[in-house]
């Protein structure tokens, strides 16, 4: 502890440089926390969904519609307890940048098939009874400051025009990865106002026995094999994974770009820390003359680098956690997005490693410094 003042004084030698180095390390770890959380959230999204539910979509791709006649045929398939349809709406509320998902659904059964989505009974009843009603996720309500019974207007992109909806219910999700940023409304409303051009996007099937999922999937796909719209049936989890990969190989892109930027910033920070240590060659020689040992001086440099990297890392990591918990700009794209404590732990471990690496070279140089040579330069 008696050496603490010496180390801290060195850190405060150039306050501006120390603060800028801290800031660059903090920015790097903010980026790390964000990107790592995108990856973990993407991974958790593919874990969303029940094992007892299947999704049937057009075999060509998820953006291709399904004939509505499939609905009844799927409901009648042996082993299927219930089937419901979902359609993508693609509307805009005020500003296209404020994206959120909107689905046209069958109000009579959809929420019964999702017990993990909680809607107050009276609100669900009100939603079912009114064709222009909508049920909205709690976070989406908070984001736009909406209130119950408010009428909101969405501008259709796939289905042009202004669409008015009255919010009759607010849902909460037991599983955070399900998200609370989705907007649900009646498919009948969409069908009517789209001059009957709206189609079912995909179907969700509830099974009587989840162990039969493979056999039922094969049976359904075989049933529609030679039709105009062949199907692909898979577990809801696999379907969610398909949604994610629809964006392309997001994980690879995020990892590749993020890693490059992250390490570029870290190298700059490490170089600055090394420069700061090198500038003190003369002082190291003086301390050696006073009797400080090589190992002591090396450890001062290491501790200094560790302090900067750990403090900067902590600021960046906790900053990311606070930012994304208070106002989550990614929630609409990545339901359940948050910075996990595990990510912060990994980040701190990397910060410690950064400190050790950045401090190692100047520490080694300090230890090896020839006092005679150094004093010749400083006098």
């Amino acid at each position: 502890m008696k050496y603490a003042r010496l180390v801290l004084s060195n850190l405060m030698r150039s306050k501006r440089r120390t603060l800028l180095t801290l800031a660059s390390v903090a920015v790097a770890f903010f980026l790390f926390a964000t990107l790592a959380s995108v990856l973990t959230t993407l991974a958790s999204v593919t874990e969303t969904g029940s094992e007892s539910r299947l999704a049937t979509r057009n075999a060509i791709g998820i953006t291709f519609d399904m004939p509505q006649s499939y609905h009844q045929r799927l409901r009648g398939t042996p082993g299927v307890r219930e089937a419901t349809h979902v359609s993508w709406f693609g509307g805009v509320y005020v500003d296209p940048k404020d994206f959120f998902a909107q689905f046209a659904i069958d109000p009579t059964v959809y929420f019964d098939m999702y017990p993990e989505v909680l809607v107050p009974e009276d609100q669900l009843r009100a939603f079912r009874e009114e064709r222009t009603a909508a049920i909205v996720g709690r976070k989406l309500m908070e984001k736009f400051g909406w209130r119950l019974d408010q009428t909101v207007t969405l501008q259709g992109t796939i289905y042009p025009g202004d669409w008015d909806f009255t919010i009759r219910g607010v849902y909460e999700a037991e599983d955070p990865s399900f998200g609370e940023e989705t907007f649900y409304f009646h498919f009948d409303y969409l069908y009517e106002l789209s001059s009957q051009t709206a189609r079912h996007g995909w179907y969700i099937l509830e099974l009587e026995d989840p162990d039969q999922a493979g056999a039922i999937s094969a049976r359904i796909d075989a049933m529609f094999e030679n039709s105009t719209a062949p199907t692909k049936t898979e577990t809801e989890r696999a379907f969610q994974a398909g949604f994610v990969t629809m964006w392309g190989n997001v994980g690879f892109l995020v990892r590749a770009i993020g890693t490059a930027v992250f390490f570029a910033i870290l190298l700059i920070a490490a170089n600055t820390m090394m420069m700061a240590a090198r500038e003190r060659t003369g002082e190291v020689a003086v301390l050696k003359t006073l009797g400080f040992r090589d190992g002591q001086l090396a450890s001062f440099v290491i501790v200094e680098a560790l302090l900067i990297s750990l403090l900067g890392g902590l600021v960046g990591l906790l900053g990311a956690k606070l930012v994304f918990e208070s106002a989550d700009p990614l929630a609409s794209f990545l339901p359940g997005f948050s910075v996990a404590m595990g990510t912060i732990g990994v980040g701190l471990a990397i910060a410690a490693l950064l400190g050790l690496v950045a401090g190692a070279v100047p520490a080694w140089q300090s230890a090896r410094l020839s006092v005679v040579e150094a004093l010749r330069h400083v006098g």
């Binding site: 003042r5 004084s9 003086v286 006073l290 009797g291 040992r293 090589d294 005679v372 400083v378």
Partner: protein, 223 residues
């Protein structure tokens, strides 16, 4: 037994594959309580001798014994401990750490001891009192004049009560008035506190304040 015994020391520096011999079998003894000035032309080996006595440099052959310890036999770690316990070093350009106050600079050698914080503070106060700078203890080096900085440097050199004080041109960067104050202070340290001092200087006036002057020329000492 003399405090310092340099016996049959050879030293050659190698630069750009050329060897420059500094010492060829030199001998020197310094008695306890002596105050000596060391003079000689540039490159004669004055600083090399100081560095050897401080255990910062080693001869190619021969022995350098200080306080009964042959420094040529010690390893780097032991030499560091030896310096901390026995040597006080005064630099020409003071070499105070700019980020520390005067008191904190003086405290540096004491950080290597097992003294408590309060004991360290007391020693620092005494050392700053000897050089007359107690009232400037919280000032940073940039807030002190050159003479004051050198006095802080002297306080740092004596705070751990070393056996031998080595001063490398302590007045070389000072005006005449400040130089006289520093020389008076060194004389007081020798006279009042019994410190053994070896001072390298180019200044004949400074050398006159010492008990004796050693002239180093072409690798040979002349008293």
């Amino acid at each position: 037994m003399a405090l310092v015994e340099v016996h049959d020391v050879y030293k050659t520096y190698h630069k750009d594959s050329r060897g420059v011999q500094v010492f060829a079998g030199v001998n020197l003894e310094i008695e306890r309580g002596e105050y000596l000035a060391l003079m000689g032309p540039s490159g004669s080996g004055k600083s090399t001798l100081l560095n050897m006595l401080a255990g910062l440099d080693k001869p190619d052959s021969g022995t350098v014994v200080v306080e009964g310890v042959d420094l040529t036999r010690l390893k780097a770690r032991q030499l560091a401990d030896f310096r901390a316990n026995n040597i006080g070093f005064i630099f020409q350009f003071y070499n105070l750490l700019p980020v520390l106050t005067a008191a904190q600079n003086v405290e540096l050698p004491l950080l290597l001891t097992s003294l408590s914080k309060s004991d360290r503070n007391e020693r620092v106060r005494i050392a700053l009192g000897v050089v007359g700078l107690v009232d400037r203890s919280d000032h940073f080096p940039r807030q002190l004049s050159g003479g004051e900085q050198q006095r802080v440097g002297i306080a740092r050199a004596i705070v751990s009560d070393p056996t031998l004080i080595l001063a490398d041109e302590p007045t070389g960067d000072l005006d005449a008035k400040s130089a006289d104050e520093i020389l008076a202070l060194l004389g007081e340290l020798n006279k009042e506190h019994g410190k053994t001092i070896l001072m390298v200087t180019h200044d004949a006036h400074a050398a006159e304040t010492a008990h004796d002057t050693i002239h180093l020329d072409k690798g040979v000492f002349h008293r």
